[in-house]
Amino acid sequence: MVKQAAITRRDFFARVGQGAALAATGGLVWSYLLKQQAQATPYAIRPPGALAEADFNASCIKCGQCVDACPFDTLKLATADAGIPIGTPYFIPREIPCYMCEDIPCVPVCPTGALDHALENIDDARMGLAVIDIENCLSWQGLRCEICFRECPVQNRAITVEHHPRRISKHAMFVPLVHSDACTGCGICEKVCPTQKAAIRVLQPDLVQGEIGDHYRLGWTIDSPITQDFKAATGDPGASAPATGLDYLNEGPL
């Protein structure tokens, strides 16, 4: 104890201050790195059953067992340069989409529950949401494509085709529409889209989905005496069907 008296109280507090400053500086730089990486998250398309992004990032232990389990080599672990939080699983639909295995092998092997084991039906997965660029979609130009509609594994629910009148000819347009209540974000549509860059893409829903808000009320969804007028007409829709296509096309100029 006598020897240690050589360290004065002033020295002691200076040393403590230096240590604390070193730790604080290191901690600030470190937390900045973490924040930078966490900001990259909205662009990652995650495996089925992934928790909400912040929870997923916190829970994932980056072990790759989901990658091991995927029979299609869809999943990858983000490398340091992927622009996605390091080590977390993701996939690039245009390269290899999720083929929506019925037994969902990637989920039960997740040791931490970052992939929610409660997911039992792959149709309930929400990996992302398909979004159509109608300026580049062939069908929206009036061509008969609809490949996304036909390849979609959630047939006729996630993507439907509606026919729209076309301004420059009598031929109707058959345009695909995506429905968020059924789209799993598997990305098969993005994979099969024949345009040079996919005109239908899967993104995290948060990036593209709006929210109507409580201050708008859609009258026809509310049951009240005042809103009765807004209800859609019921009855046989076939009764007012136009003339058959062939007749229509053969009448008048093109």
């Binding site: 973490l34 912040a54 916190a58 829970s59 490398t79």
Partner: protein
């Protein structure tokens, strides 16, 4: 001490012999056998992971070893997980599933028994990188740029835990060059090697044993875990000539405090990685792997004397 002069003697009266690398290959093998064994274990573990994910290695229809060193499953049955990574996840406020908690408990228990930093020298792939740095440094004679307390790793460990709470992500796992190395070796190479190169250069040109011996919070974690571990390096006091060969080669030379070693009959510090380098260079056979000797069972005339002295 040993250069040029006629033979000096150690405190036990025996002449101090320097360690001389044997000329024969079998003699070299004798010196290298623990090093080779460590490399075999380190590379073997990585190979089991790579073989399972890349080449579909199976035993009786079960995958051999899935995952990576962060979390894995042996034969699809036995979960294993990095207890430090699991602790960070817990601190983000997320309770992970039982599987990873069980896996972390298994690994924690194993290293607590074996000697915590057995991880560092026998399993961790970064050890191969930093050993390369140390080897180059010895041959190139590069001196340190600055000195740093080896205890700073405990501050890094504390920071990793605090930042996990504050940022909501497992703070060390997001920047760990260890995880980058094994993950990218197993699942595909990206820019993770740049972090590993950083560790190599830091150890080579800036600070000897800089990463593993000063900064790594995982090593610090296992040093604490292994404080009471069973496998230790035994120290046989009467044979030691204080030649210092062990401290020259040791990546954590502060653990070779010969006074403490003589008192405890072993290298007691949790910071010892059980790499066994000291064992193979010791010319007297003073150092050997052994099971921990608990202080009660050991006669310690020296310490009791010094204790009496300090009591006075």
């Amino acid at each position: 001490m040993s250069s040029g002069n006629p033979v000096t003697t150690g405190p036990n009266g025996r002449p101090v012999k320097p360690f001389i690398m044997p000329a024969s290959f079998s003699g070299k093998l004798q010196v290298w056998h623990l090093l080779l064994l460590r490399r075999a274990v380190q590379i073997g573990v990585l190979l089991l992971f790579i073989g399972t994910v890349r080449w579909g290695w199976e035993v009786a229809g079960r995958p051999v070893l899935t995952g990576n060193l962060s979390s894995s499953e042996l034969f699809g049955l036995i979960p294993m997980a990095d207890p430090f990574a699991t602790l960070q996840i817990l601190l983000t406020g997320h309770l992970p599933l039982q599987e990873v908690l069980l896996g972390a408990a298994i690994i924690l228990g194993a290293y607590a028994l074996l000697g915590g930093r057995v991880w560092c020298s026998w399993v961790c792939p970064v050890n191969m990188v930093t050993d390369l740095s140390a080897w180059l440094r010895r041959h190139l004679g590069i001196s340190d740029l600055f000195r740093l307390s080896r205890s700073i790793r405990y501050t890094v460990l504390a920071l990793a835990l605090i930042l996990s709470v504050l940022t909501g992500v497992a703070a060390f796992e997001w920047i760990s060059p260890i995880s980058m190395l094994h993950r990218e070796l197993i699942y595909g190479i990206g820019l993770g090697w740049t972090a590993v190169l950083g560790v190599l250069l830091f150890d080579l040109f800036i600070l000897r044993n800089g990463w593993c011996g000063h900064l790594c919070p995982l090593g610090a974690f296992y040093a604490l875990v292994g404080k009471l571990a069973l496998i230790r390096v035994r120290f046989d006091t009467p044979t030691c000539t204080h030649c210092g060969e062990c401290a020259k080669i040791c990546p954590e030379p502060q653990v070779l405090n010969l006074k403490e070693a003589a008192a405890a009959g072993m290298i007691a510090s949790g910071e010892c990685t059980n790499c066994g380098r000291c064992i193979t260079v010791c010319p007297e056979g003073t150092l050997q792997f052994d099971l921990r000797r608990f202080p009660v069972a050991r006669q310690k005339p020296d310490t009791t004397k010094s204790r009496q002295r300090s009591a006075l």
